[in-house]
């Protein structure tokens, strides 16, 4: 599904190398978790994969089902199946959540040569999906993320994911700012989307989220590289001993 080879990335504005040769392959239907200390480059990886401005790829490749992601505009990546659940979902005053969702769904369908969803079909689908995430009608009517609580924002991200049905879901610290109940709700939303044709890259600081979203593979990232890869037990090791041991072992 997702194949990253020797990816080197620096900030456009300053000569600062953030990713220093990331290699990562995510197979279809699998959930990969990336853990790592602050500043290791986890969020940068998610932004580079989704096409945010401000980063320069100096070396390496990233492909989705063989297609070069780095050559595409953000909207093209989305249409190809990439979805980034933001760590800090953006508030957009003046744009209704429902309008936003419908525009996004239909833009992607259009880009893929599919017919646009009718207003009625869209409404039916969004209502059903919102219900399972406990998103009420009022939240759908309000401007995108404006006045939403931390938990509501993250649930809104998962609703978008559910509506857009991406192939490759990248979740950037989705657990940050969530209480236990909200984390459970969000995780249930994600688990409901797990499927043979859909992969996940879950970025997190804590093992806690991985209790709810069970990963197949766990990577440890440090200083711009994946330094260790293992099974779910690796996350438990981090939880108990912190990153220091692993980093010492690698170095």
């Amino acid at each position: 599904m997702l194949e990253i080879k020797n990816l080197h990335v620096q900030l456009e504005d300053e000569d600062k190398q953030i990713l220093k040769g990331v290699d990562l392959t995510v197979e279809p239907g699998k959930v990969h978790a990336i853990m790592g200390p602050n500043g290791s480059g986890k969020s940068t990886l998610s932004y580079v994969l989704s096409g945010r401005d401000g980063y320069e790829v100096t070396e390496g490749t990233a492909t989705l089902e063989g297609e070069d992601l780095l050559d595409m505009e953000p909207e093209e990546r989305a249409a190809a199946g990439v979805f980034l659940a933001f760590q800090y979902p953006v508030e957009i005053p003046g744009v209704g959540n429902m309008t936003f969702l419908r525009t996004a769904v239909n833009a992607q369908r259009k880009a893929r040569g599919q017919e646009e969803l009718s207003a009625a079909d869209f409404l039916k689908e969004v209502r059903a999906k919102a219900k399972t995430l406990k998103i009420d009608a009022d939240m759908l009517k309000r401007p995108v993320n404006v006045g939403f609580s931390g938990g509501e924002k993250k649930r809104n991200e998962i609703l978008q994911m559910a509506m857009l049905e991406p192939k490759m879901c990248i979740m950037d610290e989705t657990d940050s700012g969530l209480d236990v109940d909200a984390m459970k709700l969000v995780s249930e939303g994600v688990n409901a989307l797990r499927d043979e044709g859909r992969s996940f890259l879950v970025i997190t600081h804590y093992q806690r989220l991985l209790d709810h979203i069970k990963p197949d593979v766990v990577h440890i990232m440090a200083n711009g590289r994946i330094v260790k890869t293992g099974g779910p037990e690796l996350a438990l090791e981090v939880e108990h001993n912190g990153y220091a041991d692993i980093l010492a072992e690698v170095n």
Binding site: R52, I92, G94, T103, A104
Partner: protein, 426 residues
């Protein structure tokens, strides 16, 4: 004090081509206006309130040429049930207009008033305009009072069943129109006034509105798409106790537009909201000049102006709130914002507050900025193409002005026009 020679010459050159209509009961007001105009002279670039907008093309003897905008698109508000009053190049068209009768309202043409010695409009014609000259002079309005060739006097005594729609069509490439309307809303009466169309190559319009205690006036205006038209408009509004005035203006193109709103809250608990959304591309200059005077207790005023500018377009906002001594519990709000879609466009803002009462809440803000990159990326990351995403954010920016319109049907039409503009330019 004598006028500077250049100003005097410019004023006399302009006056030389104007003829005062046979004026009947408005004659005194017109003659007085002419002598006031000779004292103040027409505006020049050196005048404080004309620093950001060049007045020269508004004051020349002949109107600059303006090509007609040809489109098969229907004019704004065409689908509404309304009483139509049509002016073509500033001349009332009886053929195109509806019969001027509507329950709860009496409507007279300015020409008819001018034949009469006694008419209610005599108490209003030129009166609010003259009062609105202090402390800032507005010579183009004075010129209008003296030389207006047409217009209507609308007397609202009840709650008419439909809006009164003033439609300004542009037919000649050199037309120079001067229209003057007076509106009196009686106590407890309520009316909606619609205005739309490019009007003329050069358009000078003055509207005097007197709203009695408990009266309400809603004003919605769309200034038309003709790229080369010029307009200088003045609205002078006086509000009585518990009265309401709400005005919204949409401007989509026009090489030069100067819209002045002069509002005086003279009765307690009155409310005045003025808002505007404008979108300009290229050779476009749009100026909102607003002066709100609070002269009563517990009144509320809001000014909300949003401008989207690109390809070298210019936006100007000069807005003032004056709170007079004794106007306690005033709630005054003013916001002017521009969205600059490129680095060639500019927004010039001069917000002013002058407060002589000690128990008031007044705020003002002015911002100028580009599209929010973070929001743009968020939309694109969900698959919305960059142009569509930019348009969504542009409309969202304008939405804060559009929500000032109470009637949701009208608001929807305004949004449609804005969407059309964005679509044409994507």
């Amino acid at each position: 004090m004598a006028l500077p020679q250049a100003k005097q010459t410019a004023t006399e050159d302009r006056l030389a081509v104007l003829t005062m209509p046979d004026a009947g009961c408005t004659r005194k007001a017109r003659e007085a206006a002419l002598s006031r105009l000779r004292e103040m002279g027409l505006p020049s670039r050196r005048d404080e309130y004309w620093k950001y907008t060049r007045p020269d093309t508004l004051t020349t003897a002949q109107a600059p040429h303006a090509a007609l905008f040809v489109s098969d698109e229907q004019m704004m508000f065409h689908e509404f049930d309304r009483l139509k009053i049509v002016f073509i190049d500033g001349v009332f068209s009886p053929e195109e207009s509806d019969e001027l009768s509507l329950e709860g309202v009496s409507i007279d043409r300015l020409e008819d008033i001018c034949c009469k010695d006694i008419h209610w409009a005599k108490e209003l014609y030129g009166v609010l305009e003259e009062a609105g000259q202090t402390p800032v002079q507005r010579p183009l309005a004075t010129l209008n009072t003296a030389f207006a060739t047409d217009g209507v006097a609308i007397h609202v005594k009840g709650k008419p069943s439909k809006p009164i729609s003033l439609i300004y069509r542009h037919a000649s490439e050199t037309s120079d129109a001067i229209l003057h309307h007076v509106i009196r809303v009686e106590s407890g009466a309520e009316v909606t006034i619609l205005e739309n169309g490019p009007a003329a190559s050069r358009f000078n319009k003055c509207m005097e509105i007197d709203i009695a205690d408990g009266g309400k006036l809603h004003h919605i205006r769309a200034q038309g798409r003709d790229h080369q038209r010029r307009a200088a408009t003045h609205m002078f509004t006086r509000l009585g106790r518990e009265s309401v005035y709400k005005s919204f203006t949409l401007t989509v193109n026009g090489v030069l537009t100067r819209n002045e709103q002069v509002i005086e809250l003279t009765g307690d608990d009155a409310i005045a909201h003025v808002a505007g959304a404008c979108v300009g591309d290229g050779d476009f200059h749009h100026d909102d000049t607003v002066f709100v005077t609070h002269d009563a207790v517990n009144c509320e005023s809001r000014q909300v102006f949003k401008k989207v500018l690109r390809n070298g377009a210019t936006g100007v906002f000069q807005g003032k709130i004056l709170v007079k001594e004794g106007a306690q519990k005033t709630d005054g709000y003013q916001i002017s914002q521009s969205l600059l879609l490129d680095e060639d466009s500019q927004f010039l803002a001069k917000p002013e507050l002058e407060i002589y009462a000690d128990d008031v809440a007044c705020s003002h803000g002015s911002t100028s900025g580009a599209i929010d990159e973070t929001a743009l990326f968020y939309l694109r990351s969900r698959g919305v193409p960059v142009k569509e995403a930019t348009n969504m954010l542009t409309l969202a920016f304008l939405a804060e002005a559009v929500v000032e319109i109470e009637d949701s049907e009208v608001a929807e039409k305004i949004v449609n026009r804005l969407e059309d503009w964005l679509a044409r330019r994507s």
